[in-house]
Symmetry: C2
Subunit: 376 residues, 2 copies
């Protein structure tokens, strides 16, 4: 079965919307944050822990699984769900972003057929095409697949972006034709940088192809400004159908999630909560903290007093600090649980704010607290 988006409520004062997505693995609530399980594992966590923090959909990376263990092994295992023992919905990206950001020395050769590049692992020559990306995703048997797109750098010129949008449309069409998995939905990706006409054109033409959902791409580049990200969303959303989910790819900063939701986005993903965890960082209502800070040495309170996550219910900052400074992986695990729970709790609160038509007040309160310590 393909996924089905159900709109529940549109917030009165903004474009924010409350919905549900019906999938082969149950119904999930939107807006949602999707934890990333790059290599068929959300780093340091078990599938049970991923579910316990309230995850709806998780994301896995086609490029990484293509290289290790290879899509054929995942397929022989019975697909990604069985391979990794996860019985919730899984979304796979197309590999496009990784090809453009991870390729060895970032050297790549883009041609109409696809992209030549070298593996970030061993420098092996690789060639990824729209058809190949879809074929891999079909074999991985995720619930939602992404079209293979070109991800130009934030610095790209208008001319470059224009050509890139055209190519992404041709690649989307080829991918859609190659798509064979009846139980897998396929999303189209809107590109076009921060240019209104390009985003509009990209959105309208992508929607014409009738995908099961739409992604807004090109916003998670290293040097993308917040303003350009908001423009990319604002210029794309009006042309996307209301009966399909909208997914802002690679975004996970709390304030960006709020801004995205207010602009009409339903889905977000990011490696941020698990990546910063491994460096000892934790989200709190008053901004990020680094647990390695000496002031937490004898702090026998949880990361956040009111947090309902496993880490906050059972462990102190002093203990987690000890684990992180001693390179004990249980520390990264506890911080990962907390950080993912933080973002998912945020989306739960955003859903409630949408239902109550007070998301602008919610944003004001949240940002005031979250940036309080920065302002000092």
């Amino acid at each position: 079965m393909k996924i089905k988006y159900e709109l529940i409520h549109e917030e009165k004062h903004t474009k924010a919307r409350r919905g549900m997505i019906h999938t082969n693995y149950g119904t999930v609530q939107t807006p949602m944050f999707m934890p990333v399980g790059t290599l068929a594992t959300v780093k340091t966590l078990s599938p049970e822990e991923v579910k316990e923090v309230g995850s709806g959909v998780i994301l896995s990376n086609t490029y990484h699984l293509w290289l290790r263990p290879g899509e054929d092994i995942v397929s022989k295992a019975g697909g990604l769900h069985r391979f990794m023992n996860y019985d919730g919905p899984i979304l796979t990206d197309s590999g496009g972003f990784q090809v453009f950001s991870l390729a060895k020395n970032k050297k790549k050769d883009i041609e109409e057929e696809g992209v030549h590049f070298k593996s970030h692992l061993d420098g092996k020559r690789l060639f990824l095409t729209p058809e190949k990306s879809i074929e891999i995703q079909n074999k991985l048997d995720s619930d939602i697949a992404m079209s293979f797109d070109e991800c130009p750098p934030a610095s790209a010129s208008y001319e470059y972006l224009k050509n890139s949008v055209e190519r992404t449309l041709r690649w989307a069409k080829r991918g859609k034709e190659a798509h064979k998995n009846e139980n897998q939905s396929l999303f189209g990706i809107v590109q076009g940088g921060a240019y209104e006409d390009l985003r509009k054109y990209s959105a309208i033409e992508t929607v014409k192809m009738d995908f099961d959902g739409y992604s807004i791409g090109g916003v998670a580049n290293d040097h993308e400004s917040k303003e350009d990200m908001y423009k990319a969303i604002d210029y794309s959303i009006p042309y996307l159908p209301t009966d399909k989910p909208r997914y802002l790819m690679g975004i996970g900063e709390p304030i960006d999630i709020i801004e995205g939701v207010i602009r009409g986005v339903d889905m977000f993903d990011c490696v941020l909560p698990t990546r910063i965890a491994r460096h000892g960082n934790a989200f709190t209502r008053y901004g990020k903290i680094n647990i390695k800070n000496a002031k937490y040495k004898e702090d026998f309170t949880p990361i956040e007093e009111k947090c309902d996550c496993y880490a906050c219910k059972h462990y102190t900052k002093a203990y987690i600090r000890h684990l992180i400074t001693s390179n004990e992986t249980f520390g990264a695990r506890l911080l990962s649980i907390h950080n993912i729970r933080f973002l998912i709790k945020l989306t739960e609160e955003l859903r409630e704010a949408i239902e109550n038509d007070n998301i602008l007040e919610y944003r004001k309160d949240f940002i005031e607290k979250y940036t309080k310590n920065e302002k000092k």
Copy 2:
């Protein structure tokens, strides 16, 4: 409350015995294998996972906790149980073994008062004495503490060992006098290498001091032979009281556990199951396997079909191999769960064999299978 050992049954044909230890944190069964949580965490596992595999007592290392985070922080947290959120019994070693094996460049200066050595972390000069070891363990508030002993190398001469036994006895006495924690039991340690007269003398003199339990030390050195280990046990056990537990320190190879139990040992500990897990090794009934082996690439069966652990119930060798070869910590976690469960299941079966008076048959069957592939 001090621990209390209760003898349930003595096996008919050997010295093996089935017992229970009553502790402040519940009653645990012997013979038992104790997982090691060096730095107040059993590497990669949560306390819940440690309990789920059937652990009775866990072990934590005084030397490591002294260095990081420091015993005062653990004490301020309310002791080791509260610091690490573990509500089962905890045993701490004395730091002696680490001082002799981990000290920077293994340089140390042993004098009657204690041992001067350098931290393995930063080379800082440290001085550990019997009183200091006990003071740290008192503060850690473990349920069972160890006396500070000298751990001579396997190559030490008779003369050296003789002096070392004498010094260990004097240190045991000093430690016992310094011991203040009424809720903590204290074990004496028998040394003496593989010499019958030294082990006998060490055991008799240590028992005279009336400890809450007795350890057999000096058997986990790198170059210790199996024969010398069995001798060390055989020469010590006859002089230990039947109403106190006997603990063979640092031993965790399956066959060594069986041999120890048959010789009258109740408690074992070792980093082996978690250490080999991090290198991709798993215990099986047919010997150790390395999951990184290419033959497991498409092996969609569990590590062991009949194993009741979380890893074997939900994951395949192909998936765990993928995690380990990709450096995903969830792989080490799954193998750690399996390996600890393997050793604990082994002790469960040994208890049953003792009750049924057929431990010699059990040993024969186990070793036959376990060494089958080696013999080929």
